[in-house]
Amino acid sequence: MMHNERKAELRVRSIKNGTVIDHITAGNALNVLKILGIAGGTKAIVSVVMNVPSKRSASGRKDIVKIEDRELIPEEVDKIALIAPQATINIIRDYEVAQKNPVVWPDVISYIVKCPNLNCISNSNEPVFSKFKVLDSFVLRCVYCESIIDKDIAAYLI
């Protein structure tokens, strides 16, 4: 298995500076790109590896995203936590891992997820942004209307 993982790492080359997001829940790499605002028109050098073997993941598979010359800011890490709670964020400087952080679920998340309740005040013309209390892994409760999101969080990302 170790041998297989090493091979997975080698599928794409090491990067000099930037961010490697490892241990993304298999199948969610494209959602991670969506969260980071990386779409088809990007000029960034981005490598995506999907469904490679992983001994840490319960499914035995994981995704990896490498973004060159960009270090993620905390808000971006919070967003990734929502859809890939097992992910690890490695900040790379001059080919070395400068920081290695597991993502952490915040207590409250703002701006990131849209309330599914269209009649919620956070979906109105009032000057207020969405805000959710994080109850548990994968369960969010709107601070305003108390609606619950307990599945498919990626579908509600702003």
């Binding site: 919620c120 005040i121 207020v128 305003y144 609606s147 307990d150």
Partner: protein
Amino acid sequence: MLLRAQKTIKASAFNTYWMLEKQHIVSMRDFTREDVTFILDYAERMFPFARTGIELLQHKILALLFFEPSTRTQLSFDSAMKRLGGSTLSLSSEDSSILKGETITDTVKVVEGYADAIVLRHSREGAARMASEISNVPIINAGDGAGHHPTQTLLDLYTIRRESHLENLDIALLGDLKYGRTAHSLAYALNMFDANIALVAPDGLQMPSHIVDTLDSVTVTDNIDDVIHEVDVLYVTRIQKERFPDPNEYLRVAKSYRIYRSMLQGARDDLIILHPLPRVDEIATDVDQTKHAKYFQQAFYGIPVRMALLSIVMDKLL
């Protein structure tokens, strides 16, 4: 000195949310069982003054902001404030700033300069919570869309405690449990008191599972006959016509959930029947004359409960 004594009572009686958050009344989620018990006890002390009045809030002004029409709740708050010697300002959905499309945010920021507390009703869920984040005076939620109506819940609990009992309670909630905001808040609060709750609703109008899942002792059924003989309290809510695309389906369902006097044979002797009102035809008028009917008392109990809440949020305790 008196004020300091009052603050000491409050500091020990209320949880930190209330102490830190300027004592807004937004959702039953913000209250502990101890908070609720304190409020109900305090409403009991206020009860003798619900008819005679007491000069507790002279020179205080309560703003009633009703972005959505309501007669009963507005009248009840108006009466409670005046019984306390205070006065009220009203803004209704017919008034010009609302018709011109002013945001709640702007309205609240203006009105907080004119009043010592604001009662807010709005058609959008979460409106009162948002207002509480921006207001410098206490916000009292008088209904936010299909969300919460905590003062209704507190007066329901007060009625249940006064006319029946809150400990070891068997209660059935009947009607539109999906959209009915009173039912959601009440179920949550009753669970704090370990009530056995039967949810009786037609298909498609049953209480959302994310609420049912939080209840510790709950039965779900679509047939009132399953439970009517086994409860201390029957809480009836309205089934709204607009929830049904087919008018004939509405008529069929509404009829099967109507309470008649004859259905009460075999019910517990001390059964009480409650309804947040207004009633359309969920309870036949022949029930009104039975000893079980307590819905008009329930409406009256809104006065001592709201007097208690206004006195607490405006920091002038009896």
